[in-house]
Symmetry: C2
Subunit: 351 residues, 2 copies
DNA sequence: TAGCTCTACTAGAGCGCGCTAGTAGCGCGC
DNA sequence: GCGCGCTACTAGCGCGCTCTAGTAGAGCTA
């Protein structure tokens, strides 16, 4: 068993298309030191304007791009924020979009990692940590609270859109669920509904709070006996299943359904519409999140809008504060959310 | 002006919560060399099973996680693929989901970078390159062909869902547009439609080909004089604008509209539905991509399905082949796509 | 016993960069 | 003349890891 050529590990790049230029190449090109080139690229004082010009020019000519991995390694800080999100969740996508501007403003680079069916959140988070994220922004994480606490003990963590019971050393940025849910029930009751069901999101982020808020709001309207909670999930499938359950149920359909998030609401819409149930004439449907698909498409979903740009900004700022040591982790920031009335809610018809 | 402690540059992490353990810590813990720990973590031969066990145990105890940045730097190859996608585009999100499994299978790590309104593709791509992506997978890139060619000259690039005129040194993985578009027109003509308009995607990836394919299919059916192309875009807004244009137009509405992608189709649905136009009774609408929202929600859009899992697999494999030097870049791989008939297409009603 | 091979390990260079501590050169005041 | 502060630079260590070249020791043969 003689290896053909032990020199060439199989993991080497075979034919680098003209090796990536490094800082040393740029320095050599100009006959200056690497440190000077470094200064210029970090926009630090200590180089004359003319020199800066020459460095940039030479760098462009050689096609030099700073190497993040090396930069991260050499710097104490990486200035990288890791963002975990669920690819399928349009609300998460909205958050990711909104996180970029603030991150850039505060000088952070972003590394995204998607939780997808074939790749759970633990793996996605490990990838983020491995890529030297200084802090983690977790969009609606579904991992256990202990896991979150463990993470928080290792590095600054900001959780978006989920409450935590315990006192994990992490920041929480989310919306008040109570006023939003209250507004939903007020709105529906105002339209004349009394049979208002809630399709919940199980233990998904935000779901327990919304469920509780629904219950409270129903009670506040003297509708405690009409409280009806159908188990669901924060996915289209969850909504579809719940709709099928309701349709199969012997009891009459509620006149309105408040879903725990938009995707769930869309699943409800899907099955109800296919079954010939008129929305909102026979059943009003209200979602939660106001993700971009709720408003843009002909879905036209009545829903609760969370202030995504501010959530994103606060989350990035919270991470930054933790990193700067400006305060201890453990803060909880809550924003107002508000009802957005669209086409899937209306007065109930008599039956 | 005496600096309090010149050691602590302002960009240092102020209070690392118990500094991240390194390989050296694990080695010291066991009284072995770093190299041995490295061996074990890379799953290379040269360590006894007992030692491996001890190393893993010590690592777990200390909470050691390998540092990607350092690993990337030290390795010739990074085994990282950079993926560019547009956050808003559900088809891209589908692709990203599908890319993960194959990447993992071939031993690649993924770094995602989203093009969002506040952050154009150039920036997103620079971030990927900076993070040491060995190769780039570009989902429907909108940057110029020269830019793509330049990129391709620097590192292996695979373009998904876009054709290129020139002979850039990049691989292309996409679907045949002609059969898909042809099927759409066949389907609509088969239902009795003759006034079939096309809302195009301008110069967006795939759009010119779909436009041409629409024209050809119309001609093939002897409907050359009914060809009608409304300028659009691959966004909901593009579809909305096109729908408004059609509604404002003096001419009668077409009985069917073939949109250049699903988002555009959803924009059409949106405006038409709001305007009281019945879908599909008055206007049939067909999209393109079969992104997950087309099927799952009550959008129920007739569309052209691209084989996303295979597109993703081929793209990753193409990148891998380029990296291994198995072949020269420049391959074009095309997959079949096929019509998926759903609820937004039906026979035209007499007027 | 020397000489071989094999396993299990170690030493040490170097990946591309950041950063601290320096230096050389210059104008300035006294 | 000297020290001083300033600008514009350079030397060189170290970030955490991978990888090549090597070694120590065990087990075998002749």
């Amino acid at each position: 068993m003689t290896p053909r050529n032990p020199r060439q590990g199989s993991d080497r790049i075979p034919a680098p298309r003209s090796r990536k230029p490094t800082m040393a190449d740029v320095a050599a090109e100009l006959g200056v030191s690497r440190a000077l080139v470094s200064l210029v690229f970090r926009d630090q004082p200590g180089a004359s304007p003319e020199t800066r010009e020459r460095v940039f020019e030479a760098a462009a000519r050689l096609g030099y791009k700073p190497d993040m991995a090396a930069r991260l390694l050499a710097r104490g800080r990486s200035k990288v924020l890791g963002v975990l999100f669920t690819a399928r969740n349009p609300h998460h996508v909205d958050l990711v979009e909104a996180i970029y501007p603030t991150a850039e403003e505060l000088g952070y680079d972003l590394v995204l990692s998607a939780a997808v069916p074939s790749r759970d959140e633990h793996k996605a988070i490990e990838a983020l940590v491995g890529h030297r994220s200084e802090a983690l922004l977790l969009c609606g994480p579904t991992i256990s609270e202990e896991d979150i606490a463990d993470l928080g003990a290792r590095l600054p963590v900001v959780v978006l859109g989920r409450h935590l019971k315990g006192s994990a050393a992490v920041d929480i940025v989310t919306s008040y669920d109570r006023p939003g849910a209250r507004e939903v029930v007020d709105h529906l009751v105002g339209l004349g509904h009394r049979d208002i069901a809630h399709v919940d999101g199980g233990s998904r982020p935000g779901a327990p709070e919304r469920r509780r808020a629904y219950r409270d709001a129903m009670r506040a309207h003297g509708l405690a006996d009409r409280i009806r909670i159908i188990p669901g999930n924060h996915t289209e499938e969850g909504g579809q299943d719940a709709a099928r359950t309701m349709l199969a149920d012997d009891a009459t359909l509620p006149t309105a359904v408040f879903a725990s998030n938009d995707q769930c609401a869309i699943g409800l819409l899907d099955v109800f519409t296919r079954a010939g149930v008129k929305i909102p004439e026979q059943v009003s449907i209200v979602g939660y999140d106001d993700s971009h698909i709720a408003g843009l498409s002909h879905i036209d979903l009545t829903t609760v809008r969370q202030d995504v740009p501010r959530l994103a900004r606060l989350a990035v700022e919270a991470a930054d504060e933790q990193l700067r040591g400006a305060r201890e982790p453990g803060a909880t920031l809550k924003l107002e959310s508000k009802l957005v009335v669209r086409g899937t809610s209306g007065p109930p018809t008599q039956r």
